[in-house]
Amino acid sequence: MKIMEFLSHLAICMALALVVITILNGFNPLMSFLTSNTTKVFIFIFCAVVVVSSVGAIVRARK
């Protein structure tokens, strides 16, 4: 449960970070904030965290 709670918080934080990165990209798209390999890895991790925490939330809700 502690892990699931942590993943939920991590998902929130990564989503906020992605919002910040998107805003930064608007200021200078040539800095490749949204297209760099680092960002691709970041988005992949974010998706994984969201999937795990969401599945965990559904499982808990069904118990």
Partner: protein
């Protein structure tokens, strides 16, 4: 953690309930298990209960308020921790996105992959015509060299075309430079523009040859994340006039051609600007060009920051292929304009300062239309907008400016400079 070995919160609440039900003061009441707690906790609980009773709250209200306070504190702590974690994530991201690539690739020099072949029709025209035969028969008496050439005057096509702009000798003033190969005049506009106080600089440029229009990378070589102070770059490159370019050093997309050298050719979703060897300039939307054609047509320089500022009729565009922030933010700007082969302009607008608000893109595009340019292209802006003239900064960059990745420059060619 001291003294919290057997759910003290629950026991303390029970004690308060017991007090409320019986009407016996806390001092008189002996709560089961209370003796297990340290004296300090018991005393604190009694003090809180007395305070609550003093302000007329019932035990139930006390419990509700206490629970709300705890929840509020818990949520606040959670939000703060989340904010902290978000900050940490951004720091880690910045490290991998900015710092690590600079550390690993900052000194890696990138060599061009090919050289643009100058079209035969181009190389025959704007370049200087061959020196007359008299140069191979230079007499000992210098006076005899003043005789006019017999066959040709040795001038390029552009030197003849813009003869009234060039001078036989180098003439330098505070805001102008003229020589047999270059003519530069800088006009400074400072005043109200579209209802705001603005300061911008228009550099009217005539060159005798395409060789007088060059670009220069930081430290003289193209490297990822390479950067250098603008004045140092201008001095190292021999620039008479220089303006920041499009900051191509930290990404790899689009076509990068500099001084006729091709560095890479990758897909791109931004507008492209091409200066050809024949002196013409063309701007392209992403879907409107074929990289192979551009290189085969004799591309001399390409830029890819953008967007293009004028349409095909030379009218200022009202919507641009860029982000909302770049388009709408009033910021320092740098742009490159084209009138005709051999005749160009650099425009730099100060911004984010008391003497200059900065411009949105529509305002900046309007300047080029008013100047009569037929093509214009936006370069990197903000603190990067730096104009140098005769080895000194000419404008007042926002925040003191920053190091640049590359510059556009006007310089004498090596053979003419000496």
């Amino acid at each position: 953690m001291e003294g919290r070995h057997s759910s003290p919160k629950h026991s303390a609440a029970s004690a308060r309930r017991a007090v409320n039900n019986t009407g016996v003061s806390p001092e008189q009441r002996t709560v089961p298990g209370e003796r297990d707690y340290p004296e300090r906790i018991r005393r604190d609980a009694q003090v809180r209960i007395r305070e609550e009773q003093a302000v007329g709250r019932t035990e139930e209200e006390y419990r509700v308020n206490t629970t709300k306070e705890k929840k509020r504190g818990s949520v606040l702590r959670m939000v703060l921790l989340d904010m902290l974690m978000t900050g940490m994530i951004l720091v880690v991201f910045a490290f991998f996105h900015h710092v690590l690539p600079r550390l690993t690739a900052g000194n890696t020099v990138v060599q061009p992959i090919s050289t643009v072949n100058v079209p035969a029709t181009v190389s025959a025209q704007p370049e200087k015509t061959p020196e007359p035969a008299v140069t191979s028969e230079i007499p000992d008496d210098p006076a005899e060299t003043e005789q006019p050439p017999v066959v040709d005057d040795g001038r390029t096509e552009w030197q003849r075309k813009f003869a009234d702009k060039f001078t036989d000798e180098v003439v330098i003033t505070e805001n102008s430079y003229s020589s047999p190969n270059i003519s530069i005049t800088i006009d400074t506009f400072s005043g109200e523009y579209n209802g705001y106080f603005q300061t911008y600089y228009v550099c009217d440029i005539y060159v005798a040859s395409m060789e007088n229009f060059q670009t220069y990378f930081a430290n003289g070589q193209y490297s990822y994340y390479g950067e250098q102070e603008a004045v140092a770059m201008a001095r190292n490159s021999g620039a008479i006039l220089s303006m920041n370019g499009d900051w191509c050093n930290n990404q790899k997309f689009g076509i990068l051609v500099r001084n006729g050298e091709v560095y890479y050719d990758e897909p791109m979703e931004y507008d492209l600007c091409v200066l050809y060897y024949d002196g013409t300039v063309e701007t392209y939307s992403p879907s409107a060009y074929d990289p192979a054609d551009i290189i085969a047509s004799g591309a001399y320089q390409t830029w890819k920051f953008g967007p293009m500022l004028l349409d095909s009729n030379g009218k200022a565009m009202t919507s641009f292929n860029t982000t909302y922030v770049i388009e709408k933010e009033a910021a320092p700007r740098s742009g490159f304009g084209y009138y005709e082969p051999g005749h160009y302009c650099f425009v730099v607008a100060d911004g984010r300062q008391s003497h200059a608000r900065g411009m949105v893109l529509t305002e900046f595009a309007q300047i080029f239309e008013d100047l009569g340019c037929v093509r214009a292209y936006n370069m990197d802006g903000g603190a990067s907008s730096i104009l140098t003239f005769n080895g000194k900064r000419y404008n007042i960059p926002s925040g003191g400016g920053r190091n640049l990745g590359e510059i556009l420059l006007i310089a004498e060619t090596p053979d003419s400079a000496g």
